[in-house]
Amino acid sequence: MAVKRDSYIMPTRGVGVRRGMTIRTRRDMFTFLLFVAPNFILLGVFVFWPILYSLILSFFKWNMIAPKKTFIGFQNYQSLFSDPVFWQVTRNTLVLALATVVVKLSISLVLALEMNTDIRGKSFYRAIIFSPTFTTSVAVAMVWSWIFDPHFGLLKVFISPLGLRAPDWLWETEYSLPAVIIVLIWSGIGYDMVLFLAGLKNIPREIYDAALVDGVSPWQNFIYITFPLLSPTTFFLTITSFIGALKAFDIIAIMTDGGPLNSSNVFVYYLYQNAFQWFKTGFASALALILFILIMAITLVQNRLSRRWVHY
């Protein structure tokens, strides 16, 4: 595509706007800046400045009430790394993210493959599976709290006849995190399935026809054609789901409060507790920075790994 000299599209390599800037372009540049300024100022005030300020706060001890903030250097980071709850929360977060992403994507891929065939009442099923996506997370959490009830919960009705013990999901330390994971998976499947469906529709019909002529089995069909050609969608969903799971908050806040004994506490909720329930602004800011680095690192690693298995 040719880049017009006057346009404000970012110049591609070798076509410099700067080279030979006329008075006219310079004046246009001024107008350009003037028009993007409102946006940039807003972003600056509400995004960049808070990020920077949070970084600064992480070196202070401040309860948000005291007029004076005390500089304590790296002490927040020190107490953070020696805080057993921090490590527990980090582990919980990673377990939650990993379990959610793997299980949720597998189920939604299977559902999408099913929904892509010519079964009767397809759109009805699609609508049902998609419905958790547009349900408020507060309502989801409330309903699931009832389902998990150890005495008259819906889940007990299914588990007890199998001769299994129905656990007190939200009040046993081994079951609270799985309970949260189950709800997160349930509420995320619909959205992922729709994206997978879109991805499936994008795979050219001819490839399957050719494969049919060559006589491939349905399994080979999936392994050698569908899965590789779906990989951009899978990649996108992996990254967004992972980030989404790392930021899980609402379901946990309503169902478990991070308890019992921090067994279902995760990074973002622990951050919230520190900042707004316990008034430890500096500590919470340090946590936020660690989370930022964590998300960044995971995304970079996934990006790097993706070169091996994603085919555009």
Binding site: K61, M64, T173, G259, P260, L261, Q277, W278, F279
Partner: protein, 429 residues
């Protein structure tokens, strides 16, 4: 040229905007003409919220010097969060409905305005001695008064009378923790498969309630959680006795369960639960059986921690402070207070409110509600550690370690003492 004129328009708009904010800033310095407008941050929903709105409207109509704008800010915890943000931004309301243990937290860093001079210079019939001492006590920090009691509650025990009668017991709430344990044993039933049908008691593990009922048990045994100087007393015999009793009931007797809501009580799964006086209306109206509201059991004594909210002043302007004072006095006067008590089940905060004819008549007609008033004699402020930001959480985890993880009480209490002390030294002192 079109573009250039656009630039000028934008510049002009920016200029106007900045000058108007300058004018607004200058305005604050002038003495007020006409009525003073103040902002009141309220909490609570349902009848407890409506009665505040009603009183604000009544106050606004009753005089023309002050106009109160009432703003709903969510639950107690949310008010705290918003107040923190408001303080950081320097845009504070004038009067706040504050969860009572948090008065010291805000007072110690100068976020609240001390009321002593307003009390001293008050020319009306206002009398500070009219307030019930146990309820006024937690409005003080460092010898200065920062808050007036308003929507105060105490923890109560709610008993399912029908379940007691079924087990052949009299329809009477337990007077001591030993009786509490015995009744629990008598009403508990398991089926042949070992599945629970009903148990004696549910111990609340809610974020803001777990510590409250536990405090009640510790005080009954004659102990305390922490003193005013932040000495910790959980590793002492009374607290350990209370903790052991709770734990034994869950794991040895299997006559109690940890539970987070009143649903188990309303569904007849547990015979006794703890609750605020504020829950009384709700439980009485929803239960399909006889509910007996009763004191928290005693042991060596009857003593319970007062909860609920106080009115605190955050105004930073002297005209608005005077206006806010008038409003606070109105909200806590006998007339208003009697109205609050009748509508919600909260407790009267002044002697004159308790003797108000409306209230006297009301308690005569609804004798079961009078238990809250009777228990008023046995109240004390909450443990000092509750005002540490993380105090409630540390205590909740203590209860969870006792009732969910089944850890040794002596160890748990020692750990909790240490955690509370560490928190105090790090974030409060």
């Amino acid at each position: 040229m079109k573009k250039r004129s656009m630039v000028w328009v934008l510049l002009l708009a920016a200029l106007l905007l900045s000058t108007s904010t300058l004018w607004a800033a200058a305005e604050v310095e002038q003495a007020p003409t006409g009525p003073v407008k103040i902002v009141y941050w309220r909490s609570l929903t349902g009848v407890a919220g409506d009665v505040q709105e009603e009183l604000v409207a009544q106050f606004n109509a009753s005089q023309d010097k002050v106009i109160v704008e009432s703003q709903f800010q969510g639950a107690y915890a949310e008010i705290l969060q918003k107040l923190l943000a408001a303080l950081a931004a320097g845009e504070v309301p004038d009067v706040v409905l504050l969860d009572s243990p948090f008065v010291p937290l805000f007072a110690k860093d100068g976020a609240l305005f001390a009321l002593d001079n307003l009390v001293k210079n008050d020319k009306t019939a206002f009398n500070l001695k009219d307030y019930i001492p146990g309820l006024l006590a937690d409005g003080y920090y460092d010898g200065k008064l920062y808050a007036l009691p308003v929507m105060r509650s105490t923890p109560l025990l709610y008993v399912n009378g029908d379940m007691l009668a079924e087990a052949g017991l009299p329809r009477k709430a337990p007077a001591t923790w030993d009786e509490f344990r015995a009744i629990s044993k008598a009403v508990t039933k398991y089926n042949a498969a070992g599945e629970m049908i009903q148990v004696g008691a549910g111990f609340t593990l809610g974020l803001t309630t777990a510590h409250w009922y536990f405090q009640g048990a510790v005080y009954a045994y004659g102990g305390q959680i922490s003193d005013e100087k932040f000495g910790m007393h959980l590793s002492e015999a009374p607290a350990i006795a209370a903790a052991t009793l709770w734990q034994d009931m869950v794991f040895k007797d299997k006559t109690a369960i940890p539970s987070n809501s009143h649903d188990d009580f309303l569904n007849k799964k547990v015979a006794m639960v703890f609750g605020s006086t504020g829950s009384m209306g709700n439980l009485l109206s929803r239960a399909t059986f006889q509910v007996i509201p009763a004191f928290i059991p005693g042991q060596v004594q009857n003593l319970v921690p007062v909860g609920g909210a106080v009115l605190a002043m955050t105004s930073n302007d002297k005209w608005r402070q005077q206006a806010a004072w008038d409003f606070m006095k109105f909200m806590t006067n006998a007339e208003s207070n009697a109205k609050i008590v009748i509508k919600t089940g909260y407790m009267p905060v002044t002697t004159s409110a308790a003797n108000h004819p409306d209230l006297v008549a009301y308690f005569k007609a609804n004798p079961e509600r009078a238990v809250a008033i009777d228990q008023l004699k046995y109240t004390r402020p909450q443990a000092s550690v509750i005002s540490l930001g993380k105090g409630t959480e540390i205590l909740r985890q203590m209860v969870e370690k006792l009732l969910i993880a089944n850890m040794d009480p002596a160890t748990v209490m020692k750990e909790t003492d240490a955690a509370l002390l560490k928190e105090y030294n790090e974030s409060y002192k």
